[in-house]
Amino acid sequence: MDPAEVEFLAEKEMVKIIPNFSLDKIYLIGGDLGPFNPGLPVEVPVWLALNLKQRQKCRIVPPEWMDTDKLEEIREQERKLETFTPIPSPYYMELTKLLLNHAADNIPKADEIRTLVKDIWDTRVAKLRLSADSFISQQEAHAQLDNLTLMEINTTRSFLLDSLNYMYKLRSNLQPGRSKDY
């Protein structure tokens, strides 16, 4: 999967918006949305929220976790612990990117949030690399992927799998008896 696909999946997440128009319930395949009352928060998928935002039809209410205090706490937690900490949203990176790119004016302290999420992301990816390294160097057969988000798995998947394949090839070449294919 490439990141765009993951992002596409993330757009299904629900987010609260405050519409500035009035519309009855709309019936979609994915479920009913609305009714939209001007000034009243309503939950819609991110894709619709962004679309409405781009047309200046709504204000987006940032998700609960998109708050500097909470993110700072998560960042500290992430830095402290060896393992991955649970993340408030399985699409935190994608949502942050989408919402901050399109609706930065509706999110208080947007810049700080961007930095914090990037920090968290970096920490987690660094951990991921480290654990991949130890996974390979200790020649483990399996690893747990607790609390990893789709995007994170996705970033490391191609690299890790390819390298494992290569290593397998190389190793099997080392044992002459078995390397019949090569």
Binding site: I18, N20, F21, S22, P38, G39, L40, P41, Q56, P108
Partner: protein, 1113 residues
């Protein structure tokens, strides 16, 4: 009598705090580690005035309008009080000061610092300083004795030292404290205190005791302690009379001793056990304010009443003056516009207060005392207020500063409820006027924000729905303070000043010409107090107790006078709601009156100034209309009340918005109320009554919850739901009576929901064996649901109940007919649960009827399933075939499902599925279909009678036949044409007992039914004996055979007949089960028919039915 400990409230951020009262005791002044000094008008003051004096404040002292603070920038500063303007630096240290204290006259300030020094500074001339050196560690506390001779100081070096101020030398020293290196490490703050006035004793908190030192001998004359105390004393304060001593410990204990008697008269514990680090005694002696190291502020009330009788009289004496002042004020300052000290009013104006205070700094006037007495308000119950009728104002001031020494004088005393301050006029949905950034209006249309800071004086108008208008930014050169917003216009108004008259400005943006705004000046001396916008009109209430109406284009229209000063106004459509002061409230209550006027075409007064109910000791916080146009009010206790038009315009409590708040100081700021869907839109505010403009607050939605009893039980819950539903659908009646569009789908859904709830409650009472209650509930039901209830009752073998219900059903049907006849040629299509607005709905019903006619075709498709049922049932019901339209028209239940089914989506699969099982030929004539579908609903009683007859063997149960005949009579009545109705009833009730003529049944179904119908004993007997009858009388027709058979059957002995019946029962058993299944199906069908329903599968419906049936044996 123990004193009352008020709950702690948030005062400052966590950290060290200090507290004192102002000279008159009308404000509590606190400081904290957030660097702010806050001035609280009372403990409940949600909007204290904040003065930022530095980064951290260690100590605060206040006297003669000078606020002295020890700040973290190593200075001791003066600020003016209560304005809070900086008034210079008194002195500096090399590190921060820990404690500052005034002398008795307020001319000198002593300060002790962490650089081991104590300084005494003249307030008037800060260059005159005296420095006392001698401590070897940071100074903890300082205290100047009342005679200005000595200064006592305590220090971290473990010593308490008394200095002679004149000679700057040590007079006495006691090494009684524990040594420590710094204030932060010290076990105790060791706040010292001289006995006021005489200065004879110095109180020193030493470990677990308070030691008292005599000024003359400098010896420890007594020690106060309490065995219950396990932690170190931190603070000690004397009562203003010098008789009592209060102390606070590190563990949060608060104790008060009678010093003479060395008796501990009061023990209180901090609610969370935090360290008490500041205490102050109210100048009148009745209360103690204290703060803790977590930044919270608390108050002990009624301290004096807890003490000995002598003190009590003294306290009363003090109080008398208070209350006298209060009354004095009422006389003087009753005018609303001057009621600035009313801290109960949601709109506070400290700035104006300040002005007042400046004017009245003379201690003699009653005005400044006003707030102090206001603080007393709450303890009126414990300590009934008294009034000194002939007191001189001069005494008030002196007695306030120096409490009266002598016992109370024998003056005539007024003991009774005290008048409360009338609340100020306000705009519902606005935040206080004094804020720099405030909401001037937040309603369902949009938001009006006002900015009034250094750079900008502007008004922002923003619409929730941008389709109405784009956002606007206006410069507020006139200084508007009031605003309202509607779909058509923005109305702004400002109060007049000396030069300028009070102005009303209207931005009529929906205007189609080019002049979008107009402005009106009020006559000189008349100020706008409240305003509102309706549809096509604007209303303004003024200080001259007048309401002026304008058209939205600026034409002046009617004016009328109000009986009292306006509190607020609200408009919706053609309705104008005015709330005003009806009179003087007592004991914190407000006496408000409300008028509801109908403008527009039908001009009339709907509510004629009746009292507006509010919670005890609360004021009005929001007033307005729901989105649907029902007046609604919310008081400061958070209780929302809505007008119940069907119960003589009473106010029903519908919600307590405070229920959702976690803490006591949290509130919900309401911005709108809607009945459909049921929502209170509000902004939850943490620790305040109103939200700030930034960050932009988010609206939350609260549900309604009527305060019914026992809502934890199923019964209570359903009762609450039912009455809520009733209350919140009153607006349909109102709207249609005013020719507004109504959501007929919503209405029918609501009715359905109500009936469903009734049915559930019915089932529940049935289960609880409360049959009388069942009948009571049935009285609330519509006719068709009663028939369902009858079925339920008879199924659960409650024949007595079923009988009563069928009587009820008959009554209801009669009523229905009478009404129909009254309505004459207007066929009542719709029957409403609440008769109050029955007449009003004619319009909508007519509409629905027209639509209905057009869509017969569609209906026909939906009902094939029912056709079959009809076919099966019709023989049972033996209904004469009559004009189906008439029947449909009269059928009370039809209307509700119909609009739903019409507007809801039809499930195409359902039709085909039904057809499969249908035994009736598809090519049935159309009329029959229509008829069947129409009769469907009114057949319920028949279903019942069928069940009761066959399932319950009516021959055995004498009661069963009776309900049967009753219900059938009902049915027939309903189906009969109006003219023949009466006769039929008579003849039929007689004929009912015998088998009715089967000829009436539709021919197609007749055969079907004949087969299925279980046989009675008589039928069995007849079958066996038919031959013998035939042989006896060969020329007999079928009818004659039956007649003859009946005659013969009657001749049989009772035993024999019983025998036959038993056989018939046994015989029909398998059929009976089938019958019951069928009944179940009918049931399902009816359910699904009632439900929004065509979508629903029969399975769903049966599940739903099972919800009704709590305990079907």
């Amino acid at each position: 009598m123990p004193c009352e400990r008020k709950p702690m409230r948030y005062g400052h951020s966590e950290g060290h705090t200090d507290v004192c009262f102002d000279d008159e005791g009308k404000c509590i002044v606190t400081c904290g580690s957030d660097g702010d000094v806050r001035i609280w008008e009372s403990l409940d003051d949600d909007d204290p005035k904040s003065i930022n004096v530095g980064e951290k404040v260690y100590s605060v002292a206040l006297k003669n309008g000078k606020l002295v603070t020890a700040v973290s920038n190593n200075t001791v500063q003066i600020h003016t009080f209560p304005e809070g303007d900086p008034d210079g630096i008194l002195t500096r240290f090399t590190t921060n000061a820990n404690h500052v204290a005034f002398n008795a006259s307020g001319s000198r300030v002593a300060a002790g610092s962490s650089d081991f020094l104590v300084k005494i500074v003249e307030v008037a001339d800060s260059s005159q300083q005296k420095t006392l050196r001698g401590h070897d560690a940071p100074v903890l506390s300082v205290a100047l004795d009342p005679s200005d001779e000595f200064l006592a100081s305590s220090s971290c070096d473990g010593s308490v030292t008394v200095w002679s101020i004149e000679s700057q030398t040590q007079v006495a020293q006691w090494k009684v404290l524990q040594k420590s290196s710094d204030v932060s490490n010290a076990k105790s703050l060791c706040r010292l205190a001289w006995q006021p006035r005489s200065g004879k004793l110095l109180a020193v908190p030493v470990d677990l005791t308070i030691q008292l030192y005599d000024k003359n001998t400098w010896t420890n004359v007594s020690t106060l302690s309490d065995e219950l105390i396990t932690q170190v004393f931190n603070v000690v304060v004397w009562s203003p009379c010098g008789k009592f001593l209060a102390a606070g410990t590190v563990g949060g204990n608060l104790l008060i001793w009678d010093v003479e008697a060395k008796l501990c008269i009061e023990r209180q514990k901090h609610e969370k056990g935090f360290t008490v680090c500041g205490m102050a005694w109210h100048p009148s002696g009745g209360r103690i304010a204290y703060t803790d190291t977590e930044g919270c502020l608390g108050l002990l009330e009624d301290v004096s009443s807890a003490s000995s009788t002598i003190q009590n009289t003294k306290a009363t004496a003090v109080k008398e003056t208070n209350d006298y002042d209060d009354l004095f004020d009422e006389d003087d300052d009753r005018m609303l516009d001057e009621g600035t000290t009313d801290s109960r009013s949601p709109v506070k104006k400290p700035i104006m207060d300040d002005d007042d205070d400046d004017d009245d700094l003379m201690p003699a006037t009653g005005r400044p005392r006003n707030r102090g007495s206001f603080l007393d308000d709450d303890d009126n119950s414990q300590d009934p207020g008294s009034v000194k009728l002939d007191g001189l104002p001069e005494e008030d001031g002196s007695s306030a500063v120096l409490p009266a020494v002598g016992p109370a004088v024998s003056r005539p005393i007024y003991e009774g409820p005290m008048p409360s301050q009338p609340q100020r006029a306000f705009q519902p949905g606005s935040t206080p006027v004094h804020l720099m950034h405030r909401f001037m209006m937040w309603n369902s249309v949009g938001i009006v924000r006002g900015y009034n800071d250094d750079q900008d004086n502007a008004i922002d108008v923003e619409f929730h729905d941008t389709a109405i208008h784009h956002a606007m930014h206006l410069t507020n050169s006139l200084g508007h303070t009031m605003a309202d917003l509607s779909q058509e216009a923005v109305l702004l108004a400002c109060e007049g000043t000396d030069e300028l008259a009070s102005k009303i400005q209207c931005l009529h943006f929906s205007c189609w010409d080019t002049q979008k705004d107009w402005m009106v000046d009020l006559p000189k001396g008349e100020d706008v107090r409240a305003l509102c916008l309706g549809q096509g009109w604007a209303a303004v209430a003024t200080s001259t107790l007048m309401v002026r109406l304008f058209s939205i284009g600026g034409v002046q229209k009617e004016i009328f006078s109000l009986p009292g000063a306006v509190v607020c106004m609200a408009g919706h459509g053609e309705q104008l709601l005015v709330v005003y002061h009806r009179g003087t409230g007592f004991d914190g209550d407000q006496a408000l009156g409300v008028q509801l006027l109908q403008l527009g075409r039908k001009r009339r007064q709907v509510i004629h100034g009746e009292p507006l109910p509010l919670s005890r000791k609360s004021y009005l916080a929001w007033m307005g209309f729901t989105g649907e146009g029902t007046p609604c009010c919310i008081d400061s206790e958070g209780v929302a009340r809505m007008l119940n038009r069907t119960l003589g315009n009473t106010w029903a409590p519908v919600c307590n918005t405070r229920d959702t708040c976690k803490s006591k100081s949290d509130h919900c700021w309401v911005v709108g109320v809607h009945e459909n869907p049921q929502q209170i839109r509000c902004i939850p505010c943490k620790g305040s009554r109103f939200p700030p403009t930034l960050p932009r607050p988010a609206v939350a939605v609260l549900p309604f919850n009527l305060p019914y009893c026992q809502t934890t039980t199923e019964k209570g819950q359903m009762e609450e739901q039912y009455w809520r539903s009733m209350l919140f659908h009153n607006h349909f009646g109102f709207l249609s009576s005013n020719d507004y569009e109504i959501d007929s789908e919503g209405q029918s859904q609501a009715e359905k929901e109500q009936q469903e709830l009734l049915m559930k409650m019915f089932a529940l009472s049935c289960k609880l064996e409360r049959e009388f209650r069942c009948v009571e509930l049935a009285e609330l039901m519509t006719h068709s649901v009663v028939t369902l209830a009858i079925r339920y009752a008879s199924r659960s073998r409650r024949m007595a109940l079923a009988q009563r219900l069928s009587e009820l059903a008959l009554e209801k049907a009669n009523q229905l007919q009478e009404e129909e006849q009254e309505e004459d040629d207007e066929p009542a299509y719709q029957r409403h649960t609440s008769r109050e607005y029955r007449g009003s709905n004619k319009m909508s019903s007519r509409q629905a009827e027209v639509e209905n006619g057009c869509e017969e075709e569609e209906e026909q498709e939906e009902y094939p399933q029912e056709e079959q049922m009809d076919a099966e049932e019709s023989t049972e019901t033996r209904k004469p075939c009559l004009n189906p339209f008439k029947k449909g028209g009269k059928s009370p239940e039809r209307p509700s499902p119909k609009p739903v089914s019409r507007e809801g989506r039809v499930n195409p699969f359902k039709v085909s599925g039904a057809e499969k099982s249908s035994s009736s030929p598809a090519g049935q004539p159309r009329t029959t279909n229509v008829l069947d579908s129409m009769t469907m609903a009114s057949r319920k009683p028949a279903t019942l009678s069928g069940t009761s007859k066959q399932g319950k063997a009516p021959v055995l149960k004498p009661l069963a036949p009776k309900p049967k005949s009753k219900t059938q009579a009902t049915l027939l009545q309903m189906s009969a044409s109006k003219a023949s109705r009466k006769k039929q009833e008579d003849s039929q009730s007689g004929a009912e007992k015998i088998k009715p003529v089967p000829a009436a049944t539709p021919p197609v179904s007749a055969e079907n039914i004949e087969n299925r119908k279980p046989k009675t004993g008589f039928q069995l007997w007849l079958e066996e004996n038919r031959k013998s009858i035939l042989t006896d009388n060969p020329d007999f027709e079928e009818m004659d055979i039956i007649k003859e058979g009946m005659g013969r059957f009657r001749i049989l002995s009772a035993e024999e007949r019983l025998n036959w019946t038993e056989r018939a029962k046994g015989d029909s058993d398998p059929k009976k089960r089938k019958r019951e299944d069928e009944a179940g199906q009918v049931d399902e069908r009816m359910e699904s028919d009632e439900g929004s329903a065509k979508k629903k599968k029969p399975l769903d419906a049966s599940a739903k039915l099972s919800a009704f049936a709590f305990n079907k044996e």
